[in-house]
Structures are given as C-alpha cells and as structure tokens.
Amino acid sequence: MSQMNPKDGVQSQSRRNFLRAGAILGADSLLGVSLPVSAALANEPGVASFMKLSRLLVNHHLDEGVGQRMWVLLKDKHSNLNQNVADILKIATQKQAKIVEDFFADIPVGELQDLAYQIIFGWYAGCLDTSAQAESFAFEQALTFQNTADVITIPSYGVSGPNDWADRPNVPVLPLRKF
C-alpha cells in the first residue's frame, strides 16, 4: 500500500465515491422512475391488473411504460386478455403468492399458462416473439440485459471510464444480480 501510484489512488477514490453515492441513493433508486407512455393508459384498469400480474410473474423492478406498450400488443393478440389476467391473478391470490414460484405451478396448462409464459417472455426479451419483424417495446430495460448488467455491457451503453474495464474478474455465474 505504501507505493501506490497516483492513478491507483484516483481509481480507488472514485470507487469509494461510487460506493458512497450508492449508499446515498440506494441501489434501487438507480433503476429510475417509471413513466407512463400516455395518461390514458396510466388510468386503464387493464394495465393496472397487468402490471400487478407482471410483478408476480417476474420478481424484478418493472417499468410502467414498458408494461403499457406490452399490454397494448397483447390486447391485439388476446381477445380476452383482461379476463385471463384476472384469472391468473385469482390463482395467485388464492396462493397468497409473493413471487412467481409461489403460484406458477397452479396456473393450468393451456391458454392461461401460455399467456403467463408470454408475459415473462415479453419482459425478458422486450418483444413478444422471435421474429426479425417483431415490434420491440424494450431494449435497455429488457430483463435479459439487466440480468447480466453487473458483469457485461448492455450493448451501446458505456461501462466505465476509458479502458477502466481492464482486469475485471471472470466471475462465476452466481450470485444473481438484484434488479
């Protein structure tokens, strides 16, 4: 420690600063505020239920605006979307579910389970199918990118000061990131 060069000093100082900033803001607050895509959608009861279900199916911070975009697309595909959402929510309520593992097994195979999987798919992929023409409604906030953002880049977003990603460890797969 006695022979620390000035650059190391600055780096460790900036890391300390970061830790301090993190402590002040709290890790969660860095996820940002959610904003509705439109006021009309924000007041749409179907969206509120959809978001409630989404938060049970996916145990992460979810963006309200992304949810609204997904809901609009799902509505086009599922004529009885609101009823299906209500049905799945009912199962979750019966199980007093707090996380997806608490109730997913109780969702009957078929229309309801397909919908549940599609909602999960949407939150992770930012679109509803695998085609090159699918409408995307999330990229940065698609959970597949958030899931590894502690280790690697969300493409097109810088990770650090110039060349400061050098010597990052090749970490094990676990623990999971909180997001």
Binding site: P6, G9, V10, Q13, S14, R15, N17, F18, A21, I24, S29, L30, L31, G32, V33, S34, L35, V37, S38, D63, E64, G65, V66, Q68, R69, G126, C127, E135, S136, F137, A138, F139, E140, Q141, S156, Y157, G158, V159, S160, G161, P162, D164
Partner: protein, 463 residues
C-alpha cells in the same frame, strides 16, 4: 486627447516603487517560484494559443462581452513581447493594467486581481518571464474593439473608479493557511474575475464577491460559503478534489474556461495551496442567490417506452427523450445515471442540471468538455453544435428540447430553455449592453465633453 495620455504617463512615472531598480533574478529558486506563480495565475490560458507548442506567444482571441480581444505576446521577445520591460513596467502591467508604452490594458487582463500580488512575487514572476521563458518573435493581431471601447484611455476613468490596487496584507487574526488561500483566491488565481458578477460598467460588484456570473456562454456559479446556493455544503476535501481533477462525483464537473483553469493551473498547485484555497473559500461571505441547492436536484428515470421499437422519424410524445437517447445516453446512461465508476457523470445531482441558470447545460451540449489532469486523465465530451467534430449536429430547437427534457427529468424542474437562449449561447453568450449604453448614454456624454475640450484646445492653439 493627448493631454489625457500625457497626464496618465506622468502619473504612472510618479508612482515609482522600490521595484524600479530591481534586476531579474536568475537563481533556480526564484525561477521555480515565478513559474509556479505563472501557473497559479494561469497566464497561459489567455496568452498561449497552442498551450504546449508555443507558450505565452499570445494571439489567442478572447471573446469578451464587448468584443474580441487578442492576448499579447508575453515572451521576452524585444520586438513583439515584453523583452524591453523593466520590472516596474512589468509590475504596472500586472497590477495597474498599464503597458510599458503607457497604454491601458482592458480588464480582460485580470489586473484588478493581480494588484494583490506582493512585490516579492512580482519579482519572481518577472525573473521567470525574463530568464526562463523562451523569447518568440511573433506578432499578434491588433485588438480592435468597437467604439467607444476602442478608446483605451477610457480605462483610466474605469481604473480610478474600480481598481483597488492595494497589495495583499495578511490578517493576523487568521491562520497562515487562510491568509495564503485568500492571497491565492483574490490574487493570482483571480477567481473573482469570472465568479463575481459585474455591474453596468463591467466592474466586479464587491458585495457579490464570488456569487456567480456569466462568462461568455458559460456561467461561473456561486462559490461563496452559502450552504444552499454556494459551495458551503462541500467538504474541504471535495474542493481540493475538484481543483485537482475538475470533478466531484454527484456534485459538479468543470467545463469551459474552468476546465482550462483546472487543466493548466489548479491541478499543478501544491496540496498545501489547494487546501489553503479551500480554507479561505469556506469563509467567503455567504451570498444567497437561489432557493434550490444545485447539487441535489433531480433523479434517474427515462421515457424510453414512448418511442422504443418505433421508427426514428415517427412522431413521438417525448422528442427530448429521444434526443437524449440518441446523443447522450450512450455515456450518461439510459436513466442518466452515469457509469458506475462515476467517470461519466450522472445528470441528476449535478450542478449543471440543478442550476437555475441554464447556460452551462446549453454550453456543455453545444461545446462539449475538454479537460486534462494528471489525476483525472483527459476528459473529452464531444460537442453537439456546428463543429466539424460534433457527434451530432443539434439545432437550437433540438438543444432546447433536449435541455428541457434533462431539466424536467433529472434537474431543476420548472426551468425552461428556449431556442433563442440556445442561439445566444451558440453565438458565444450574451453581448454586454455596455457598448450600447456607452454609445447612446454615458458615452455620448463623454464624447461631448471630449469634443468640447478638443475644441477649446484647438481654439487656443489657433490663437
């Protein structure tokens, strides 16, 4: 006219000081001290066009609110520089704003600050410039300000009104560090030149010392000890870190001329001196200029869902957010959270977006940031104005939309930027009304008086 000049020359000559007979020293200690003071005084910021290649050769265009002033060659060149200056003439230039030929300097040269320099320090500076700076025989363009600013003698009136030329005196009640800090702040580092608002006649307003002022396109903010609108909430270590690197995470970062001041001057000062500056700044009388603390405004967030996945040219409810995404988010993050290491700053909890004066936000977008320090590396944000290297060329409307999005999402809510403001910053900042005032008001009076004197003198000669 001649009469005035003559009397000025005479009065200058009368002001003989002990410096008059001094010789430039050539010992290493004095030269090193002189060099250090030249750095502290940031002479190079104005007097070097190419900082590294040709120091002190002048020629750099300084845009002032009253027109462009070309910095002079201050190498010891006898033909084009200050090679013929005696130490006394040198002292008069620095402390009184009077060149060796008796002409008056414009206060773009911060002689009102350098007036505080001690004789000993003047001697060290003189020795350094005469003996350690390489003479470069290179002329500089003439400064040609619009009427009546081109009447340099008018500066004599200005000096009589506004120049406090008392040399710094230590306050025995205060610590050595505080006194050193005060000397550096008021003298060589000339903080007030930018940070103290100026009055109608471009004079620094004493009761507003360091309370914040517009400098061309940039705003040099309030750095008094006020806890809300100054830097009273900063720790001493943060002040020192800022002066060393130009960046304090979650608070502020230097751009524009402050980036230059840090790159060329402050980062090279000793830790003792930087601490002394921090000591003194902590006691500068608080001036409250705002109700909101500019360092803790805003929060992270985004409006990506409004346009993600849609065509780039499709109408969107969030045009500012889309501009942000295309031009800013790649470094500052999609939630404006900055990078984890803090190298690319968050745009919330950032003095640029938390300040009611939006100049620095607009200017940062238009001009970018260029700052190089040993401790912080070479920080470079590309510009988004008309420059050939602009990352994207944003027009005034776009900069206004972008600024308003950033202010609303991440900064001081309710602050508005108009395309007209952007146009003004793009043009280099507000022009001083001084020229207009001088031309149509006071100026007319002065000219009338001059004309009358001239007539009288002329008639006397005729007789």
């Amino acid at each position: 006219m001649k009469t005035f000049t003559h009397s000025l020359l005479l009065s200058a000559a009368v002001l003989l000081s002990p410096l008059a007979l001094a010789q430039a020293s050539n010992d290493a200690e004095t030269l090193a001290k002189g060099e250090y003071l030249a750095i502290a005084s940031d002479c190079t910021a104005c007097h070097s066009q190419e900082h590294a290649a040709k120091p002190f050769t002048g020629g750099k265009a300084i845009s002032s609110p009253v027109g462009t002033i070309f910095a002079t060659n201050i190498t010891p060149s006898k033909a084009f520089g200050i090679g013929n200056y005696t130490e006394e003439q040198f002292a008069n230039a620095l402390r009184k704003g009077i060149a060796a030929d008796g002409s008056h300097l414009y206060p773009a040269m911060p002689y009102t600050a350098y007036a505080k320099l001690t004789d000993e320090d003047i001697h060290a500076l003189y020795s350094y410039f005469m003996n350690a700076v390489k003479p470069v025989d290179q002329p500089v363009p003439e400064t040609e300000l619009p009427f009546p600013m081109n009447l340099r003698f008018s500066m004599a009136f200005w000096n009589a009104l506004f120049l406090d030329d008392t040399v710094h005196q230590d306050d025995p009640e205060q610590s050595e560090s505080w006194n050193r800090g005060r000397y550096l702040v008021e003298g060589p580092t000339h903080c007030a030149t930018c940070h103290t608002p100026r009055g109608l006649l471009m004079q620094e307003q004493g009761d507003q010392f360091l309370a914040g002022a517009q400098v061309g396109p940039w705003y040099a903010p309030n750095i008094t000890s006020d806890k809300v609108s100054g830097i009273g909430s900063w720790s001493k270590a943060e002040v020192v870190q800022y002066l060393k690197t130009g960046h304090v995470e979650g608070k502020a970062q230097a751009a524009g001329s402050m980036a230059e001041a840090i790159s060329y001057s402050f980062q090279h000062l000793s830790d003792g001196d930087l601490n002394a500056i921090a000591d003194y700044l902590a006691t500068v009388p608080a001036v409250n200029t705002a109700s909101d603390n500019r360092f803790n405004q805003g929060e992270p967030g985004n409006k990506l869902a409004a346009f993600r996945g849609k065509d780039f040219h499709e109408d969107t409810s969030a045009p500012g957010a889309r501009l942000y995404s295309g031009s800013c988010a790649s470094c500052h993050g999609y939630n404006a959270q900055g990078t984890e290491d803090g190298y690319y700053p968050s745009l919330f909890h950032n003095s640029v977006t938390g300040e009611a004066n939006t100049s620095n936000l607009i200017a940062t977008i238009l001009y970018g940031v260029d700052r190089e320090t040993e401790a912080g590396g070479h920080v470079f944000m590309p510009p988004f104005g008309d420059q050939p290297n602009a990352l994207n060329n944003l027009d005034n409307q776009q900069v206004a939309q972008l600024s308003n999005y950033i202010l609303d999402m991440h900064g001081l809510k309710g602050t508005q930027v108009t395309p007209e403001q952007v146009a003004e910053i793009r043009a280099g900042g507000a022009q001083s009304p001084l020229i207009q005032y001088a031309r149509v008001g006071m100026g007319v009076g002065v000219v009338v008086v001059l004309f009358a004197i001239g007539l009288l003198w002329h008639r006397k000669r005729k007789k």
